[in-house]
Symmetry: C2
Amino acid sequence: MEGKDFIKVTPDPLSVEEITKMVTSPTSGAISLFIGTTRNNFDDKEVVCLEYEAYIPMAEKQIQIICRDVRTKWNVENIAVFHRLGVVPVTESSVIIAVSAPHRHPSLESVQYCIDTLKTTVPIWKKEMFADGEGTWKENKECQWRKT
Amino acid sequence: MEGKDFIKVTPDPLSVEEITKMVTSPTSGAISLFIGTTRNNFDDKEVVCLEYEAYIPMAEKQIQIICRDVRTKWNVENIAVFHRLGVVPVTESSVIIAVSAPHRHPSLESVQYCIDTLKTTVPIWKKEMFADGEGTWKENKECQWRKT
């Protein structure tokens, strides 16, 4: 079926409400979403925030390929893939994927495909900032790349 | 892991933003959602709205059983299952399910399980109101049970 792809790799915070509205359509009865959020631990260590960086045109181009592949596999209508860059504090969203479709199984399956494929093919780098890490960020409350 | 179940069968409109906030947690890195919306067609006929009815205590009790089952199958944190009753116009949400979990696959799989099981076990009745159906609702803009 016809549909739109909404793709954005951005330093701005992501809104589940706005992204859900983007994919909503009178001809779709199902919207599935995946939201990746920063959690406060990794490898049994306390995480203060995550930081993401990417070369935006390359990342968006790769996401476009994922959307194209989804449309060859499932009958879906609109697809939104938004990824935030920069510092993402605990509980905030780094990625939101939403897919609308006439029926629920195509939307559910394609969201899972999108996030699994994004994780393995889209060049976005992530760094955990640990509570016991470098001291500078603690002083100025900024998260910096973790030195490994 | 510990977590909360948020269950509501209600005549009020559903907010994806509010329900996402409910399940968000610092110890979870993934939130998956399913939203069922009214679409404008069914069996090649134009649909104007859907109408749902249920005996609320019985529906909520059955949803509680689904949440309990999810927790025996997957490591998830918070589960929200909200279902709207009454008239739900085209593009609006009749059901929103959200599950947070430390990792994405348990959240994705449990949302699919929740909606599939809800559809087969929870006693909520749905009626399509067709554009070529009874005339009374057209006059007063209210959807009534379709006469079959």
